[in-house]
Amino acid sequence: MSALLELRGVTKIFGGLVAVEDVGFDVVAGQVMGLIGPNGAGKTTTFNLITGNYRVSRGTIAFEGRPLTSLRTNRIVRLGVARTFQNIRLFQQLTALENVLAGRHCRTSAGLLGALLRTPGQRREERAAVARAIAELDFVGLPGRALDLAKNLAYGDQRRLEIARALASEPKLLVLDEPAGGMNEQETDQLVGLIGRIKARGITVLLIEHDMTLVMRACDQIVVLEYGKKIAEGPPAAIQRDRRVIEAYLGTEEAT
C-alpha cells in the first residue's frame, strides 16, 4: 500500500483568516477516502488546494511523489487528478456528450492544423473520443442521454454527468465534492454503487460528503477536519467511536 496523494503541513490563509491549518494525510492507492467535517471546516478549501484552484500558503501536496503545489489545475488533471464541484459546474448550455468530451480533452491531442485540415489521424481520434465519452455516460448511468443539454438533466443526473466528465480524463485519483448533494435516497444508493465500480476500475477516490451513511458505506478511510485542522483519521468504525469527532461533528450533525 503506497500513498498516491500526500498532504504535509498544508496551510491556507485568506487575508488574515486561516482556512486550513497544518493538515496532513495520505490517500492510499485503490482506496476510497472520505473527508468530513462540519460546515466551514475547510474541506472544500483543501480540495481546491489539491486541484490547484487555490495556491497553498504553506506545506506540500504531492501526487505519486510529485509536488503539485506550483502546478496549474489543468496540469494536475493531466497528471491524473480529476474533480467534481460542490455546486455543479457543468457546461449547462452544452450536451452531455460535449461535457464529457471536455474531460477527454487532455487525453487527446489534435491541434489547430488537424482541425483545419481534418487529417485522418484527427478523425480517428475524434471518433475514439466520442466513443469513450458515450461509454463513460453509460458507466455512470446516463445511457441514451448523450444529446440532452446538461441544463435539462435532473439534479442527480447532473452530478453523475460531472463524474463522467471527470472519469473521461482517465484519472488515477477522483476528487468528489459532495457527490450526493441534492440526491434522494435511491440516487444515493446508486451513487454508492457507482463509487464501488469506480474503485473497481482501480481509481482512487477522495470525497467530501455530509451524508454519513454514504460515507460510512463507501469509504475505506476517513479524515475529519474541524476549524481547518485535522482532528481524526482512521477507518469508518474507528471514526464513529472517536470522542472528539462525536463532540465536534457527529454530535451536531446527527442532532439536526
Binding site: 457546461f91 471536455a102 489534435a110 484527427q122
Partner: protein
C-alpha cells in the same frame, strides 16, 4: 454541416458571383466593404463569440496586418498577396505578446485593456513608431495585388478576391468550430473554471484564440491595404474596434452566419440611409437599439449543433473492460 445553412451559403455564393452583372460599381464596392467587415467580424468572433473574451481592440491587429503588408510592399517590393501570410503571422505574434500578461483579467477589465491596446497601437502609428509607419500620413502608393498574373484593380475584381477569402474563412472556421479546438474555446466561454478543472489549459486557449483571431484580422488588414492603396492611422481607430464588436453581438455572438449578417447590416444600413444625409447616423443608432431590444440574442444566434443522433455510436465496450 446543416443542410439549410449549406443552401444559404450556396445561394449567397451564387448571388455574389453574379452580383457584378446586376450591380453598379458603388454597390459592388459596398459588398466589398461588407466582405472586409465580415472577415473582421469573423476574426473577432473567434475571440469574443467563441472564447468569450471581451476584446474591444480588434483594430490593433487589423492595423498590424495592414501596416506589415504596406511596409513590406512599399519598402521591399513584396507583392501584396505574398505579404498576406506574413501580416497574419506578425499580427498573431503581436497578439500573443500583448495578450499574455492580461489575458487572465475578468471580462470588463479585459475589455478596457484591449481598448487601451488599440489606442496605444494607434498612437504609436500616429507618432511614426520605428520611423516606418509614416505617422499621421500613413503609407501610400501600395501596389495592387496580382492573382495568377492578373492585376486586381476594379471593384468587381476585388469582389472575387475578398469574397473568395471569405469563403475559405467560413469553411475553415466551421471546421474549427466542430473540432477539439473549437470545443475547448466553447468550454472556456461557458465556464473557465470548469474548463480548467476538466483539464483544459485555459490560458493557452485564450492566447490561441487571440492569436488566431489576430492572424485573420491581420490578413484582412493586408487586403484592406491592397484595396485602398493608402492606409493611415485613422482607419484603425477605437471606433473601428467598436463597430466590429457591434457586428458580432448584433448578428449573434458565436454564430458564423449570424456574425456575417451582423457585419452586412452594420455596413449596409448607413449606406441605405444615405439619402437622409445628416440624419443618417441618427436613424442608424435608433435602428440598432430597436434591433437589440427585439432580438436580444442577436439577429441570427444560430449555432450548428456539434453532434446529432447519427454521430452517437452504440454497442461499445464498457470501460470496466478497458485496462
Amino acid at each position: 454541416m446543416n443542410r439549410r445553412l449549406l443552401v444559404g451559403y450556396l445561394v449567397a455564393a451564387v448571388a455574389l458571383i453574379l452580383a457584378p452583372r446586376f450591380l453598379d460599381a458603388y454597390q459592388v464596392d459596398v459588398l466589398n466593404s461588407v466582405g472586409l467587415y465580415v472577415l473582421l467580424a469573423l476574426s473577432l468572433n473567434l475571440i469574443l463569440g467563441d472564447a468569450g473574451l471581451f476584446n474591444m481592440g480588434q483594430a490593433a491587429f487589423y492595423a498590424v496586418g495592414a501596416y506589415t503588408a504596406a511596409i513590406l510592399n512599399t519598402r521591399l517590393g513584396v507583392p501584396m498577396l505574398w505579404a498576406m501570410p506574413v501580416s497574419g503571422l506578425l499580427a498573431a505574434i503581436f497578439a500573443v505578446i500583448v495578450a499574455r500578461p492580461v489575458v487572465h483579467l475578468r471580462g470588463d477589465y479585459l475589455l478596457v485593456v484591449t481598448i487601451g491596446l488599440g489606442e496605444i497601437v494607434r498612437i504609436a502609428l500616429v507618432n511614426d513608431v520605428f520611423g516606418v509607419t509614416g505617422g499621421a500620413n500613413g503609407i501610400f502608393g501600395i501596389a495592387r495585388p496580382f492573382l495568377f498574373g492578373h492585376k486586381i484593380r476594379t471593384p468587381d475584381e476585388f469582389l472575387y478576391l475578398i469574397w473568395g477569402f471569405v469563403a475559405v474563412t467560413v469553411f475553415l472556421f466551421h471546421r474549427l468550430e466542430e473540432s477539439r479546438f473549437g470545443r475547448a474555446l466553447t468550454f472556456l466561454r461557458e465556464d473557465a473554471v470548469a474548463a480548467e478543472g476538466s483539464g483544459i489549459d485555459t490560458t493557452r486557449y485564450r492566447l490561441m484564440a487571440f492569436a488566431l483571431g489576430a492572424a485573420w484580422a491581420g490578413m484582412t488588414g493586408s487586403i484592406y491595404a491592397a484595396k485602398m492603396t493608402i492606409i493611415s492611422p485613422e482607419s484603425f481607430s477605437f471606433w473601428e474596434s467598436v463597430v466590429v464588436f457591434l457586428m458580432v453581438i448584433l448578428g449573434g455572438s458565436g454564430s458564423i452566419p449570424g456574425v456575417m449578417v451582423g457585419a452586412a447590416i452594420v455596413v449596409i444600413m448607413p449606406e441605405i440611409f444615405r439619402d437622409l444625409a445628416t440624419a443618417r447616423m441618427l436613424v442608424f443608432g435608433l435602428v440598432m437599439m430597436v434591433m437589440m431590444v427585439v432580438r436580444p440574442q442577436g439577429l441570427l444566434p444560430w449555432r450548428a449543433p456539434r453532434f446529432r443522433a447519427g454521430d452517437v455510436p452504440r454497442d461499445l465496450p464498457r470501460p470496466e473492460a478497458a485496462p
